[in-house]
Amino acid sequence: MDASTLIFFALAALLVVSSLLVVLLPNVVHGAMALIAALLLISIFFVMLQAPMVGVLQVLVYAGAIMVLFLFVIMFLNPARQPRGGAWLGFSVLLALLLGGGLAAMLTKTETAADPVAATDLFGSPEMLAKSLFGDFVLPFEIASVLLLVAIVGAVVLAKRER
């Protein structure tokens, strides 16, 4: 086993632990911190898979901006500690089993996938990302932008409605 495989398994174990902590910790702020840790670990995986651009964007957008807003809201509302279990427990267990079964079926398939890391130097570079975003996928990209704009305008309208 070489060094990168060792690092992968160490990080993967940490990722599993922090993801479990997200759902198991009773305090919401602690859960959010565990989620930030999980997001940072995922970004390290992206960097190890020769995609530093996606890794850095993961930190910048998810860990650095969206989670800050999460914390912002949590701190304002200051929710009480949630009791475990409840009416949703059976449904959640069912969903988890379904997802786990699906993943296990996928992982135990014997055929090996093609090497995900392409041979070119440009793989995962900003140039490559820009070319696919603004070349091959420019229409879906623009549609997604319009969707976000609609959401922003909608939020402003909802916030102003009382007046």
Partner: protein, 376 residues
Amino acid sequence: MIVDLAIIATKAFLVLFMVLNLAGVLGWIERKGSALIQDRIGANRASIFGFAGMGLVNTLIADPLKFLTKEDFIPPAGDKFLHTLAPCMALFTALVTFAVIPFGDVLNIGDRTINLQVANINVGILYAFAMGSLGVYGIVIGAWASNNKFSLLGGVRGSAQMISYEIAMGLSVIGVLMVYGTLELQEIARGQGLLMRDLLPQWLAFLQPLIGWLPAWGIFLQPLGFLLFFTSAVAETKRIPFDLPEGESELVAGYHVEYSGGKFLMFFASEFAEIVTAAGLVTTLFFGGWQVPYLMRDGFHSPWGGQWLLSHYAVVGLQVGAFTLKVLFFCWLQILLRWSVPRFRYDQVMRLGWKMMLPLALLNVMVTAVIILAAQ
């Protein structure tokens, strides 16, 4: 292999050492410099055998000793783990950003070429922003874990302010990225080694004698971008005029009200490390980084003809020296700003960020794009 690792470790240690020590020296400049600005005497209480060294003994030896030996108080109703984690996060993110800032061109020793930059990643500037955006957690988590309403108010203000100014900061840099065509900070610094006459398009050729001799630094190509970036960088360091998260006159000390001893020292050091990082980024993006005007790899070449050849080591020394001087200048400028302008009100901070800087940054991107298209 071993030698490569040793070189990387040396570079990382050197940069960390310089940033941390510069942060300490800035603490001295802040206290003695503010005294100079306000016509006071400033820190002069401590001395060793009568040697006070212009307050150096006071600020660099007595103050840290006092911080480190003080009681580390954690509010009983607060969160002990997060209260300790918060200053670590603040200091960590402030220190690692400097890894992508180049402090010189390449150094050749024997047949080995050493890139004078700790980490050369192809998304350099985005890495700096990503680490900057993580810096807000130190404040928010510290504020929440203190279980104090003044802290919490400071933390909430801090997160709102930093998110707002990150947007203006990111957009103000896009112009620079468009001009130099890369995200790598080392390539941006190299691009600034050109002269204006290399970049002037045909239809602006009449400006040649007027500005052709200027180095193609970001400040000349992106003056508005520089103003916007520097303002948002100052806002990100959370100092006056943008000290809303701390808000001495209304929130006691904002997010670090409940911090004492070593942990407060860590918040304090992270603030100064952020100043150094902001100065390094401004230098690299807008003031040529390690470039000395007209200094090529083999010596000075004047734009009016004439040259003065220098050895490789002299050139590298000049570059590193120039970078250090520029960073020191911008550190000093930030401290001067902090002690000469009054603070903003909260609504003024938000209005400046969203209603003035954001539209101006977008305008800057548009105008730059039009000029680049016209020049092609």
